[in-house]
Symmetry: C2
Protein backbone atom coordinates (compact mmCIF):
# COMPACT_ATOMS: atom_id res chain seq x y z
CA UNK A 1 0.00 0.00 0.00
CA UNK A 2 1.25 3.46 -0.87
CA UNK A 3 2.32 5.58 2.10
CA UNK A 4 1.00 8.59 0.17
CA UNK A 5 -2.11 7.72 -1.89
CA UNK A 6 -2.08 8.78 -5.55
CA UNK A 7 -4.87 9.95 -7.85
CA UNK A 8 -6.54 7.89 -10.59
CA UNK A 9 -5.00 6.63 -13.84
CA UNK A 10 -3.39 3.52 -15.34
CA UNK A 11 0.14 4.77 -14.58
CA UNK A 12 -0.76 5.13 -10.91
CA UNK A 13 -2.57 1.78 -10.84
CA UNK A 14 0.76 0.26 -11.81
CA UNK A 15 2.54 2.11 -9.02
CA UNK A 16 -0.15 1.01 -6.55
CA UNK A 17 0.41 -2.61 -7.64
CA UNK A 18 4.16 -2.26 -7.02
CA UNK A 19 3.62 -0.75 -3.56
CA UNK A 20 1.17 -3.53 -2.67
CA UNK A 21 3.56 -6.26 -3.83
CA UNK A 22 6.53 -4.78 -2.01
CA UNK A 23 4.80 -4.04 1.30
CA UNK A 24 7.33 -3.46 4.10
CA UNK A 25 10.20 -3.49 1.58
CA UNK A 26 8.97 -0.13 0.25
CA UNK A 27 7.17 1.66 3.09
CA UNK A 28 7.43 5.26 1.89
CA UNK A 29 6.33 5.50 -1.74
CA UNK A 30 4.04 8.10 -3.29
CA UNK A 31 5.51 11.51 -2.52
CA UNK A 32 7.69 13.77 -4.69
CA UNK A 33 10.78 12.72 -2.72
CA UNK A 34 11.85 9.94 -0.42
CA UNK A 35 12.65 11.52 2.94
CA UNK A 36 15.14 10.03 5.43
CA UNK A 37 15.67 11.68 8.82
CA UNK A 38 19.37 12.25 9.50
CA UNK A 39 20.48 14.07 12.63
CA UNK A 40 17.48 16.36 12.88
CA UNK A 41 17.40 17.21 9.16
CA UNK A 42 15.84 15.34 6.27
CA UNK A 43 17.66 13.85 3.34
CA UNK A 44 15.42 14.21 0.25
CA UNK A 45 15.93 11.88 -2.73
CA UNK A 46 14.18 11.47 -6.06
CA UNK A 47 14.83 9.79 -9.42
CA UNK A 48 13.44 10.68 -12.89
CA UNK A 49 14.12 9.24 -16.31
CA UNK A 50 13.92 11.31 -19.50
CA UNK A 51 13.59 9.03 -22.53
CA UNK A 52 14.16 10.07 -26.15
CA UNK A 53 10.91 9.92 -28.10
CA UNK A 54 8.86 9.98 -24.88
CA UNK A 55 10.06 13.01 -22.93
CA UNK A 56 12.06 14.80 -25.62
CA UNK A 57 13.04 14.84 -29.27
CA UNK A 58 16.45 15.86 -30.50
CA UNK A 59 15.06 17.95 -33.33
CA UNK A 60 13.16 20.10 -30.84
CA UNK A 61 15.80 20.78 -28.20
CA UNK A 62 19.59 21.10 -28.14
CA UNK A 63 21.46 18.45 -26.14
CA UNK A 64 22.25 21.04 -23.46
CA UNK A 65 18.54 21.85 -23.17
CA UNK A 66 17.71 18.13 -22.91
CA UNK A 67 20.22 17.84 -20.07
CA UNK A 68 18.89 20.98 -18.38
CA UNK A 69 15.27 19.78 -18.57
CA UNK A 70 16.15 16.33 -17.23
CA UNK A 71 17.93 17.86 -14.25
CA UNK A 72 15.17 20.44 -13.71
CA UNK A 73 12.64 17.62 -13.45
CA UNK A 74 14.50 16.08 -10.53
CA UNK A 75 15.31 19.42 -8.90
CA UNK A 76 11.63 20.30 -9.11
CA UNK A 77 10.90 17.28 -6.89
CA UNK A 78 13.31 18.71 -4.32
CA UNK A 79 11.52 22.06 -4.60
CA UNK A 80 8.21 20.30 -3.92
CA UNK A 81 9.33 19.15 -0.47
CA UNK A 82 11.06 22.43 0.36
CA UNK A 83 14.57 20.97 0.08
CA UNK A 84 17.86 22.63 -0.80
CA UNK A 85 19.78 20.69 -3.47
CA UNK A 86 23.14 19.08 -2.81
CA UNK A 87 23.33 17.79 -6.34
CA UNK A 88 22.54 15.07 -8.82
CA UNK A 89 23.78 11.72 -10.08
CA UNK A 90 23.17 11.06 -13.75
CA UNK A 91 22.91 7.80 -15.67
CA UNK A 92 23.35 8.41 -19.40
CA UNK A 93 22.53 5.86 -22.06
CA UNK A 94 23.75 7.03 -25.46
CA UNK A 95 23.87 5.26 -28.81
CA UNK A 96 27.20 3.45 -29.11
CA UNK A 97 27.87 5.20 -32.44
CA UNK A 98 27.27 8.70 -31.11
CA UNK A 99 30.14 11.18 -31.26
CA UNK A 100 31.75 11.71 -27.82
CA UNK A 101 30.76 15.38 -27.71
CA UNK A 102 27.10 14.47 -27.24
CA UNK A 103 27.29 13.40 -23.62
CA UNK A 104 29.49 16.39 -22.84
CA UNK A 105 26.79 18.73 -24.20
CA UNK A 106 24.07 16.88 -22.26
CA UNK A 107 26.06 17.03 -19.04
CA UNK A 108 26.81 20.75 -19.51
CA UNK A 109 23.06 21.27 -19.45
CA UNK A 110 22.62 19.11 -16.36
CA UNK A 111 25.45 20.92 -14.59
CA UNK A 112 24.10 24.37 -15.52
CA UNK A 113 20.66 23.54 -14.10
CA UNK A 114 22.24 22.26 -10.89
CA UNK A 115 24.55 25.28 -10.60
CA UNK A 116 21.68 27.80 -10.72
CA UNK A 117 20.26 26.26 -7.54
CA UNK A 118 23.57 25.65 -5.74
CA UNK A 119 23.95 21.97 -6.63
CA UNK A 120 26.73 19.91 -8.23
CA UNK A 121 27.01 16.85 -10.41
CA UNK A 122 27.94 14.26 -7.79
CA UNK A 123 28.40 11.15 -9.90
CA UNK A 124 27.20 9.23 -12.89
CA UNK A 125 27.12 6.21 -15.12
CA UNK A 126 27.63 5.97 -18.88
CA UNK A 127 26.37 3.07 -20.99
CA UNK A 128 25.86 2.41 -24.66
CA UNK A 129 22.34 1.71 -25.88
CA UNK A 130 19.92 2.32 -28.74
CA UNK A 131 18.29 5.66 -27.87
CA UNK A 132 19.17 8.43 -25.49
CA UNK A 133 18.08 8.08 -21.85
CA UNK A 134 18.99 10.63 -19.19
CA UNK A 135 18.13 9.49 -15.67
CA UNK A 136 18.72 11.99 -12.91
CA UNK A 137 18.78 11.14 -9.23
CA UNK A 138 18.72 14.24 -7.03
CA UNK A 139 19.84 14.68 -3.44
CA UNK A 140 18.96 17.51 -1.10
CA UNK A 141 18.33 18.57 2.46
CA UNK A 142 15.22 19.92 4.13
CA UNK A 143 14.87 21.38 7.62
CA UNK A 144 11.08 21.02 7.65
CA UNK A 145 9.98 19.06 4.58
CA UNK A 146 6.55 19.64 3.10
CA UNK A 147 4.67 16.67 1.72
CA UNK A 148 1.70 16.00 -0.51
CA UNK A 149 -0.48 15.19 2.48
CA UNK A 150 -1.54 17.90 4.87
CA UNK A 151 -4.08 20.06 3.02
CA UNK A 152 -7.05 21.01 5.22
CA UNK A 153 -10.55 22.09 4.21
CA UNK A 154 -10.61 25.88 4.04
CA UNK A 155 -6.98 26.15 2.84
CA UNK A 156 -6.42 28.08 -0.36
CA UNK A 157 -4.90 26.35 -3.39
CA UNK A 158 -2.09 28.30 -5.05
CA UNK A 159 0.37 27.92 -7.90
CA UNK A 160 3.76 29.49 -8.55
CA UNK A 161 4.66 31.19 -11.83
CA UNK A 162 2.69 30.54 -14.99
CA UNK A 163 1.41 27.34 -16.58
CA UNK A 164 1.25 25.99 -20.10
CA UNK A 165 4.81 25.10 -21.13
CA UNK A 166 3.21 22.43 -23.31
CA UNK A 167 2.38 25.21 -25.79
CA UNK A 168 5.86 24.65 -27.26
CA UNK A 169 5.17 20.94 -27.66
CA UNK A 170 1.86 21.62 -29.36
CA UNK A 171 3.57 23.93 -31.86
CA UNK A 172 6.33 21.43 -32.64
CA UNK A 173 3.81 18.60 -32.99
CA UNK A 174 1.90 20.70 -35.52
CA UNK A 175 5.11 21.34 -37.48
CA UNK A 176 5.43 24.96 -36.41
CA UNK A 177 8.20 26.73 -34.47
CA UNK A 178 6.96 27.69 -30.99
CA UNK A 179 6.85 31.34 -29.96
CA UNK A 180 10.17 32.31 -28.31
CA UNK A 181 8.67 32.74 -24.83
CA UNK A 182 6.93 29.43 -24.99
CA UNK A 183 10.07 27.67 -26.28
CA UNK A 184 12.13 29.11 -23.42
CA UNK A 185 9.59 28.00 -20.80
CA UNK A 186 9.76 24.47 -22.17
CA UNK A 187 13.50 24.25 -22.80
CA UNK A 188 14.84 25.87 -19.63
CA UNK A 189 12.35 25.50 -16.80
CA UNK A 190 13.63 26.98 -13.57
CA UNK A 191 13.13 24.67 -10.62
CA UNK A 192 11.29 26.51 -7.86
CA UNK A 193 13.87 25.75 -5.15
CA UNK A 194 13.74 29.18 -3.49
CA UNK A 195 9.95 29.28 -3.57
CA UNK A 196 9.68 25.71 -2.22
CA UNK A 197 11.89 26.48 0.74
CA UNK A 198 10.13 29.79 1.38
CA UNK A 199 6.67 28.15 1.25
CA UNK A 200 7.80 25.38 3.64
CA UNK A 201 8.70 28.10 6.13
CA UNK A 202 5.62 30.23 5.40
CA UNK A 203 2.98 27.87 6.76
CA UNK A 204 2.11 25.90 3.60
CA UNK A 205 0.23 22.72 4.49
CA UNK A 206 0.92 20.52 1.42
CA UNK A 207 2.85 20.79 -1.84
CA UNK A 208 3.48 18.95 -5.10
CA UNK A 209 5.23 19.89 -8.32
CA UNK A 210 3.28 20.15 -11.55
CA UNK A 211 5.32 17.80 -13.68
CA UNK A 212 2.30 15.58 -14.47
CA UNK A 213 0.00 18.53 -15.17
CA UNK A 214 -2.39 20.43 -12.93
CA UNK A 215 -5.39 18.14 -13.46
CA UNK A 216 -3.50 15.02 -12.41
CA UNK A 217 -1.34 16.61 -9.74
CA UNK A 218 -4.33 18.26 -8.06
CA UNK A 219 -5.90 14.78 -7.86
CA UNK A 220 -2.70 13.45 -6.22
CA UNK A 221 -2.76 16.26 -3.65
CA UNK A 222 -6.42 15.50 -2.90
CA UNK A 223 -5.78 11.75 -2.53
CA UNK A 224 -2.72 12.30 -0.36
CA UNK A 225 -4.59 14.59 2.01
CA UNK A 226 -7.93 12.79 2.06
CA UNK A 227 -9.60 16.02 0.92
CA UNK A 228 -11.21 17.54 -2.15
CA UNK A 229 -9.74 20.34 -4.24
CA UNK A 230 -11.95 22.84 -6.08
CA UNK A 231 -10.05 24.63 -8.78
CA UNK A 232 -11.37 27.57 -10.83
CA UNK A 233 -9.52 27.27 -14.09
CA UNK A 234 -10.27 30.84 -15.16
CA UNK A 235 -7.85 31.91 -12.39
CA UNK A 236 -4.91 30.05 -13.92
CA UNK A 237 -1.86 32.23 -14.66
CA UNK A 238 -0.99 31.41 -18.26
CA UNK A 239 2.45 31.53 -19.84
CA UNK A 240 3.67 32.84 -23.19
CA UNK A 241 2.06 31.38 -26.28
CA UNK A 242 -0.65 29.47 -24.39
CA UNK A 243 -3.54 31.57 -25.70
CA UNK A 244 -2.30 31.14 -29.29
CA UNK A 245 -1.73 27.38 -29.08
CA UNK A 246 -4.97 26.75 -27.21
CA UNK A 247 -6.84 28.68 -29.92
CA UNK A 248 -5.10 26.59 -32.60
CA UNK A 249 -6.20 23.45 -30.70
CA UNK A 250 -9.75 24.80 -30.37
CA UNK A 251 -9.62 24.50 -26.61
CA UNK A 252 -10.09 27.05 -23.80
CA UNK A 253 -6.62 28.22 -22.79
CA UNK A 254 -6.92 27.27 -19.08
CA UNK A 255 -8.03 23.74 -20.02
CA UNK A 256 -5.12 23.47 -22.44
CA UNK A 257 -2.72 24.48 -19.66
CA UNK A 258 -4.27 22.26 -16.99
CA UNK A 259 -3.84 19.11 -19.08
CA UNK A 260 -0.13 19.82 -19.59
CA UNK A 261 2.66 17.83 -18.03
CA UNK A 262 5.53 20.12 -18.92
CA UNK A 263 5.41 22.72 -16.15
CA UNK A 264 7.81 22.64 -13.25
CA UNK A 265 5.79 24.94 -11.05
CA UNK A 266 4.51 24.18 -7.53
CA UNK A 267 0.93 23.52 -6.45
CA UNK A 268 0.61 24.39 -2.79
CA UNK A 269 -2.06 24.74 -0.13
CA UNK A 270 -1.94 27.58 2.39
CA UNK A 271 -4.14 28.47 5.37
CA UNK A 272 -7.09 30.77 4.53
CA UNK A 273 -5.12 33.93 5.27
CA UNK A 274 -2.84 33.20 2.33
CA UNK A 275 0.92 33.58 2.21
CA UNK A 276 2.84 36.31 4.01
CA UNK A 277 4.56 38.85 1.75
CA UNK A 278 7.98 38.29 0.24
CA UNK A 279 7.51 35.18 -1.87
CA UNK A 280 10.46 34.64 -4.22
CA UNK A 281 8.03 33.54 -6.98
CA UNK A 282 4.66 34.86 -8.16
CA UNK A 283 1.82 33.10 -6.32
CA UNK A 284 -1.71 32.91 -7.68
CA UNK A 285 -4.70 31.56 -5.81
CA UNK A 286 -6.63 29.15 -8.04
CA UNK A 287 -8.95 27.32 -5.68
CA UNK A 288 -9.94 25.97 -2.29
CA UNK A 289 -9.55 22.76 -0.28
CA UNK A 290 -12.92 21.23 0.66
CA UNK A 291 -14.09 18.15 2.52
CA UNK A 292 -14.49 15.16 0.21
CA UNK A 293 -12.20 13.67 -2.37
CA UNK A 294 -10.73 14.26 -5.81
CA UNK A 295 -10.05 17.41 -7.77
CA UNK A 296 -13.05 19.26 -9.20
CA UNK A 297 -12.06 21.61 -12.01
CA UNK A 298 -14.48 24.28 -13.22
CA UNK A 299 -14.26 26.89 -15.95
CA UNK A 300 -16.56 29.86 -15.38
CA UNK A 301 -18.65 27.69 -13.07
CA UNK A 302 -19.02 24.70 -15.39
CA UNK A 303 -17.23 21.45 -14.43
CA UNK A 304 -14.57 20.22 -16.87
CA UNK A 305 -13.31 16.61 -16.86
CA UNK A 306 -9.61 16.86 -17.74
CA UNK A 307 -6.87 14.28 -17.76
CA UNK A 308 -3.17 14.90 -17.39
CA UNK A 309 -0.54 12.99 -19.34
CA UNK A 310 -0.42 9.32 -18.31
CA UNK A 311 2.35 7.06 -19.62
CA UNK A 312 -0.01 4.10 -19.75
CA UNK A 313 -3.36 5.66 -20.66
CA UNK B 1 39.60 16.66 -14.53
CA UNK B 2 38.56 13.50 -12.71
CA UNK B 3 39.04 13.56 -8.95
CA UNK B 4 39.87 9.85 -9.18
CA UNK B 5 41.76 9.00 -12.40
CA UNK B 6 40.41 6.07 -14.44
CA UNK B 7 42.19 3.47 -16.55
CA UNK B 8 42.36 3.42 -20.37
CA UNK B 9 39.49 2.82 -22.82
CA UNK B 10 37.04 4.76 -25.03
CA UNK B 11 34.29 4.60 -22.36
CA UNK B 12 36.61 6.24 -19.85
CA UNK B 13 37.88 8.79 -22.40
CA UNK B 14 34.25 9.92 -22.64
CA UNK B 15 33.99 10.20 -18.87
CA UNK B 16 37.26 12.15 -18.75
CA UNK B 17 35.86 14.57 -21.36
CA UNK B 18 32.74 15.12 -19.22
CA UNK B 19 34.79 15.75 -16.08
CA UNK B 20 37.02 18.19 -17.95
CA UNK B 21 34.06 20.10 -19.39
CA UNK B 22 32.24 20.29 -16.05
CA UNK B 23 35.24 21.31 -13.91
CA UNK B 24 34.12 22.73 -10.59
CA UNK B 25 30.51 21.73 -11.29
CA UNK B 26 31.52 18.06 -10.83
CA UNK B 27 34.51 17.98 -8.51
CA UNK B 28 34.27 14.38 -7.25
CA UNK B 29 33.87 12.02 -10.21
CA UNK B 30 35.67 8.71 -10.76
CA UNK B 31 35.08 6.54 -7.69
CA UNK B 32 32.52 3.75 -7.13
CA UNK B 33 30.35 6.11 -5.09
CA UNK B 34 29.93 9.81 -4.55
CA UNK B 35 30.74 10.52 -0.90
CA UNK B 36 29.29 13.45 1.07
CA UNK B 37 30.37 14.08 4.65
CA UNK B 38 27.36 14.47 6.94
CA UNK B 39 27.85 14.90 10.66
CA UNK B 40 30.97 12.75 10.94
CA UNK B 41 29.66 9.96 8.69
CA UNK B 42 29.69 9.67 4.91
CA UNK B 43 26.67 9.47 2.68
CA UNK B 44 27.52 7.16 -0.25
CA UNK B 45 25.57 7.45 -3.51
CA UNK B 46 25.78 5.72 -6.86
CA UNK B 47 23.64 5.27 -9.99
CA UNK B 48 23.64 2.42 -12.55
CA UNK B 49 21.48 1.78 -15.58
CA UNK B 50 20.65 -1.72 -16.82
CA UNK B 51 19.45 -1.60 -20.43
CA UNK B 52 17.64 -4.40 -22.25
CA UNK B 53 19.79 -5.79 -25.03
CA UNK B 54 22.93 -4.30 -23.48
CA UNK B 55 23.01 -5.54 -19.88
CA UNK B 56 20.37 -8.24 -20.04
CA UNK B 57 18.05 -10.19 -22.28
CA UNK B 58 14.59 -11.28 -21.25
CA UNK B 59 14.99 -14.76 -22.70
CA UNK B 60 17.99 -15.35 -20.43
CA UNK B 61 16.71 -14.11 -17.09
CA UNK B 62 13.35 -13.82 -15.35
CA UNK B 63 12.10 -10.31 -14.64
CA UNK B 64 12.78 -10.84 -10.93
CA UNK B 65 16.36 -11.80 -11.74
CA UNK B 66 16.73 -8.73 -13.97
CA UNK B 67 15.56 -6.56 -11.07
CA UNK B 68 17.83 -8.37 -8.61
CA UNK B 69 20.89 -7.96 -10.86
CA UNK B 70 20.18 -4.28 -11.47
CA UNK B 71 19.95 -3.62 -7.73
CA UNK B 72 22.99 -5.78 -6.99
CA UNK B 73 25.03 -3.67 -9.41
CA UNK B 74 24.31 -0.53 -7.40
CA UNK B 75 24.65 -2.23 -4.02
CA UNK B 76 28.03 -3.55 -5.13
CA UNK B 77 29.18 0.08 -5.52
CA UNK B 78 28.19 0.66 -1.89
CA UNK B 79 30.14 -2.47 -0.92
CA UNK B 80 33.20 -1.09 -2.73
CA UNK B 81 33.40 1.94 -0.42
CA UNK B 82 32.58 -0.05 2.72
CA UNK B 83 29.10 1.44 3.07
CA UNK B 84 25.97 0.02 4.69
CA UNK B 85 22.92 0.34 2.40
CA UNK B 86 19.91 2.46 3.34
CA UNK B 87 18.16 1.56 0.11
CA UNK B 88 17.56 2.30 -3.52
CA UNK B 89 15.49 4.48 -5.83
CA UNK B 90 14.50 2.89 -9.10
CA UNK B 91 13.56 4.46 -12.44
CA UNK B 92 11.75 1.92 -14.63
CA UNK B 93 11.10 2.41 -18.32
CA UNK B 94 8.79 -0.29 -19.64
CA UNK B 95 7.12 -0.71 -23.02
CA UNK B 96 3.74 1.02 -22.95
CA UNK B 97 2.04 -2.18 -24.11
CA UNK B 98 3.58 -4.38 -21.42
CA UNK B 99 1.22 -6.12 -18.99
CA UNK B 100 1.18 -4.43 -15.56
CA UNK B 101 2.61 -7.49 -13.81
CA UNK B 102 6.00 -6.94 -15.44
CA UNK B 103 7.13 -4.03 -13.36
CA UNK B 104 5.84 -5.74 -10.21
CA UNK B 105 8.05 -8.77 -10.96
CA UNK B 106 11.04 -6.51 -11.67
CA UNK B 107 10.54 -4.57 -8.45
CA UNK B 108 10.16 -7.78 -6.42
CA UNK B 109 13.66 -8.67 -7.58
CA UNK B 110 15.00 -5.22 -6.71
CA UNK B 111 13.37 -5.35 -3.28
CA UNK B 112 14.67 -8.86 -2.55
CA UNK B 113 18.26 -7.84 -3.37
CA UNK B 114 17.92 -4.78 -1.11
CA UNK B 115 16.34 -6.78 1.70
CA UNK B 116 19.22 -9.28 1.90
CA UNK B 117 21.57 -6.43 2.77
CA UNK B 118 19.22 -4.51 5.05
CA UNK B 119 18.03 -1.96 2.50
CA UNK B 120 14.62 -0.81 1.28
CA UNK B 121 13.09 0.53 -1.90
CA UNK B 122 12.95 4.24 -1.07
CA UNK B 123 11.30 5.64 -4.18
CA UNK B 124 10.97 5.40 -7.91
CA UNK B 125 9.75 6.60 -11.25
CA UNK B 126 7.76 4.76 -13.92
CA UNK B 127 7.69 5.77 -17.58
CA UNK B 128 6.60 4.19 -20.81
CA UNK B 129 9.23 3.63 -23.49
CA UNK B 130 10.37 1.21 -26.19
CA UNK B 131 12.62 -1.23 -24.34
CA UNK B 132 13.12 -2.05 -20.70
CA UNK B 133 15.53 0.13 -18.68
CA UNK B 134 16.07 -0.33 -14.95
CA UNK B 135 18.11 2.46 -13.39
CA UNK B 136 19.00 2.04 -9.75
CA UNK B 137 20.30 4.80 -7.53
CA UNK B 138 21.63 3.50 -4.20
CA UNK B 139 22.10 5.29 -0.90
CA UNK B 140 24.19 4.14 2.04
CA UNK B 141 26.31 5.22 4.96
CA UNK B 142 29.98 4.64 5.70
CA UNK B 143 31.86 5.38 8.91
CA UNK B 144 35.27 5.20 7.23
CA UNK B 145 34.80 4.95 3.47
CA UNK B 146 37.41 3.20 1.35
CA UNK B 147 38.19 4.59 -2.08
CA UNK B 148 39.90 3.51 -5.25
CA UNK B 149 42.97 5.55 -4.39
CA UNK B 150 45.24 4.53 -1.53
CA UNK B 151 47.09 1.41 -2.68
CA UNK B 152 50.78 1.48 -1.73
CA UNK B 153 53.71 -0.41 -3.26
CA UNK B 154 54.16 -3.62 -1.29
CA UNK B 155 50.45 -4.06 -0.57
CA UNK B 156 48.91 -7.36 -1.58
CA UNK B 157 46.09 -7.44 -4.15
CA UNK B 158 43.14 -9.60 -3.14
CA UNK B 159 39.71 -10.57 -4.46
CA UNK B 160 36.58 -11.78 -2.69
CA UNK B 161 34.67 -14.89 -3.78
CA UNK B 162 35.14 -16.40 -7.22
CA UNK B 163 35.26 -14.82 -10.67
CA UNK B 164 33.82 -15.72 -14.04
CA UNK B 165 30.08 -15.11 -13.88
CA UNK B 166 30.31 -14.35 -17.60
CA UNK B 167 30.43 -18.13 -18.15
CA UNK B 168 26.62 -18.05 -18.16
CA UNK B 169 26.60 -15.32 -20.83
CA UNK B 170 29.04 -17.28 -22.99
CA UNK B 171 26.77 -20.34 -22.81
CA UNK B 172 23.62 -18.36 -23.70
CA UNK B 173 25.42 -16.57 -26.54
CA UNK B 174 26.43 -19.96 -27.95
CA UNK B 175 22.82 -21.16 -27.74
CA UNK B 176 23.41 -23.49 -24.78
CA UNK B 177 21.90 -23.51 -21.30
CA UNK B 178 24.50 -22.48 -18.72
CA UNK B 179 25.50 -24.90 -15.95
CA UNK B 180 23.26 -24.31 -12.91
CA UNK B 181 26.08 -22.93 -10.73
CA UNK B 182 27.15 -20.52 -13.39
CA UNK B 183 23.57 -19.42 -14.08
CA UNK B 184 23.02 -18.72 -10.38
CA UNK B 185 26.23 -16.68 -10.11
CA UNK B 186 25.07 -14.54 -13.03
CA UNK B 187 21.39 -14.23 -12.11
CA UNK B 188 21.65 -13.59 -8.37
CA UNK B 189 24.99 -12.01 -7.53
CA UNK B 190 25.30 -11.24 -3.83
CA UNK B 191 26.63 -7.75 -3.20
CA UNK B 192 29.62 -7.98 -0.88
CA UNK B 193 28.28 -5.51 1.67
CA UNK B 194 29.49 -7.38 4.76
CA UNK B 195 32.92 -8.01 3.24
CA UNK B 196 33.23 -4.39 2.12
CA UNK B 197 32.50 -3.05 5.58
CA UNK B 198 34.78 -5.61 7.21
CA UNK B 199 37.65 -4.80 4.82
CA UNK B 200 37.22 -1.05 5.45
CA UNK B 201 37.74 -1.76 9.14
CA UNK B 202 40.54 -4.30 8.58
CA UNK B 203 43.16 -1.97 7.20
CA UNK B 204 42.45 -2.25 3.46
CA UNK B 205 44.12 0.61 1.57
CA UNK B 206 41.97 0.78 -1.62
CA UNK B 207 38.96 -1.02 -3.06
CA UNK B 208 36.85 -1.26 -6.23
CA UNK B 209 34.11 -3.60 -7.34
CA UNK B 210 34.64 -5.87 -10.32
CA UNK B 211 31.62 -4.87 -12.36
CA UNK B 212 33.75 -3.90 -15.38
CA UNK B 213 35.95 -7.00 -15.16
CA UNK B 214 39.25 -7.62 -13.39
CA UNK B 215 41.48 -6.44 -16.26
CA UNK B 216 39.78 -3.04 -16.50
CA UNK B 217 39.09 -2.57 -12.80
CA UNK B 218 42.69 -3.36 -11.83
CA UNK B 219 43.73 -0.61 -14.28
CA UNK B 220 41.29 1.81 -12.57
CA UNK B 221 42.75 0.96 -9.14
CA UNK B 222 46.27 1.51 -10.48
CA UNK B 223 45.36 4.87 -12.07
CA UNK B 224 43.50 6.03 -8.95
CA UNK B 225 46.45 5.25 -6.68
CA UNK B 226 49.25 6.30 -8.99
CA UNK B 227 50.76 2.82 -8.66
CA UNK B 228 51.18 -0.36 -10.69
CA UNK B 229 49.38 -3.64 -10.05
CA UNK B 230 50.99 -6.99 -10.87
CA UNK B 231 48.41 -9.74 -11.07
CA UNK B 232 49.16 -13.44 -11.44
CA UNK B 233 46.14 -14.78 -13.23
CA UNK B 234 46.88 -18.40 -12.28
CA UNK B 235 45.93 -17.43 -8.72
CA UNK B 236 42.39 -16.37 -9.72
CA UNK B 237 39.62 -18.17 -7.82
CA UNK B 238 37.29 -19.41 -10.56
CA UNK B 239 33.54 -19.95 -10.29
CA UNK B 240 31.29 -22.76 -11.48
CA UNK B 241 31.33 -23.49 -15.19
CA UNK B 242 34.28 -21.20 -15.96
CA UNK B 243 36.66 -24.04 -16.88
CA UNK B 244 34.05 -25.56 -19.23
CA UNK B 245 33.13 -22.29 -20.96
CA UNK B 246 36.75 -21.14 -21.25
CA UNK B 247 37.62 -24.47 -22.88
CA UNK B 248 34.72 -24.05 -25.31
CA UNK B 249 36.06 -20.57 -26.13
CA UNK B 250 39.58 -21.96 -26.56
CA UNK B 251 40.92 -19.58 -23.92
CA UNK B 252 42.78 -20.14 -20.64
CA UNK B 253 40.17 -20.08 -17.86
CA UNK B 254 41.80 -17.25 -15.84
CA UNK B 255 41.99 -15.03 -18.92
CA UNK B 256 38.35 -15.80 -19.69
CA UNK B 257 37.40 -14.76 -16.14
CA UNK B 258 39.59 -11.65 -16.07
CA UNK B 259 37.97 -10.19 -19.18
CA UNK B 260 34.49 -10.57 -17.69
CA UNK B 261 32.32 -7.71 -16.58
CA UNK B 262 29.64 -9.68 -14.78
CA UNK B 263 31.18 -10.27 -11.35
CA UNK B 264 30.15 -8.26 -8.33
CA UNK B 265 33.16 -9.18 -6.25
CA UNK B 266 35.62 -6.75 -4.65
CA UNK B 267 39.22 -6.08 -5.66
CA UNK B 268 41.08 -4.80 -2.63
CA UNK B 269 44.61 -3.93 -1.56
CA UNK B 270 45.85 -4.82 1.90
CA UNK B 271 49.16 -4.18 3.69
CA UNK B 272 51.80 -6.88 3.21
CA UNK B 273 50.71 -8.83 6.32
CA UNK B 274 47.37 -9.56 4.65
CA UNK B 275 43.94 -9.45 6.28
CA UNK B 276 43.28 -10.44 9.87
CA UNK B 277 41.16 -13.56 10.36
CA UNK B 278 37.38 -13.51 10.29
CA UNK B 279 36.57 -12.19 6.82
CA UNK B 280 32.88 -12.68 5.98
CA UNK B 281 33.84 -13.63 2.39
CA UNK B 282 36.61 -15.82 0.97
CA UNK B 283 39.70 -13.72 0.17
CA UNK B 284 42.36 -14.80 -2.32
CA UNK B 285 45.62 -13.01 -2.89
CA UNK B 286 46.19 -12.58 -6.64
CA UNK B 287 49.01 -10.06 -6.87
CA UNK B 288 51.07 -7.16 -5.55
CA UNK B 289 51.09 -3.37 -5.75
CA UNK B 290 54.32 -2.04 -7.25
CA UNK B 291 55.76 1.40 -8.10
CA UNK B 292 54.81 2.50 -11.60
CA UNK B 293 51.50 2.56 -13.39
CA UNK B 294 48.88 0.34 -14.99
CA UNK B 295 47.87 -3.25 -14.37
CA UNK B 296 50.27 -5.96 -15.56
CA UNK B 297 48.57 -9.33 -15.90
CA UNK B 298 50.63 -12.49 -16.24
CA UNK B 299 49.67 -16.13 -16.67
CA UNK B 300 52.38 -18.54 -15.50
CA UNK B 301 54.92 -15.76 -15.89
CA UNK B 302 53.93 -14.65 -19.40
CA UNK B 303 52.27 -11.23 -19.84
CA UNK B 304 48.72 -11.23 -21.23
CA UNK B 305 47.11 -8.15 -22.74
CA UNK B 306 43.44 -8.35 -21.77
CA UNK B 307 40.62 -5.88 -22.13
CA UNK B 308 37.47 -5.69 -20.05
CA UNK B 309 34.07 -4.88 -21.49
CA UNK B 310 33.92 -1.30 -22.78
CA UNK B 311 30.58 0.19 -23.87
CA UNK B 312 32.29 2.23 -26.58
CA UNK B 313 35.22 0.01 -27.71
Amino acid sequence: VLATPLGPGPEFDRIRAIAEALGADAPGLGDDCALLEVGGRWLALSIDAAVEGVHFRRDWLTLEEIGWRAAAGGLSDLAAVGAEPAGALVALTVPRSSPPGQEVALMRGVAAACRTVGGQVLGGDLTGGDGLVVTVSVVGWAERPLRRRGARPGDGVWVTGTLGARAALAAWSAGRAPLPGSRAAFARPEPRIAAGRWLAGAGATAMIDLSDGLAGDAAHLASAGGVGLEIELERLPLGAGVAEEAAAAGEPAPAFAARGGEDYELLVTLPPGGPPGGSPAPLTRIGTVVPGSGARLTLDGRPLALRSFDHFA
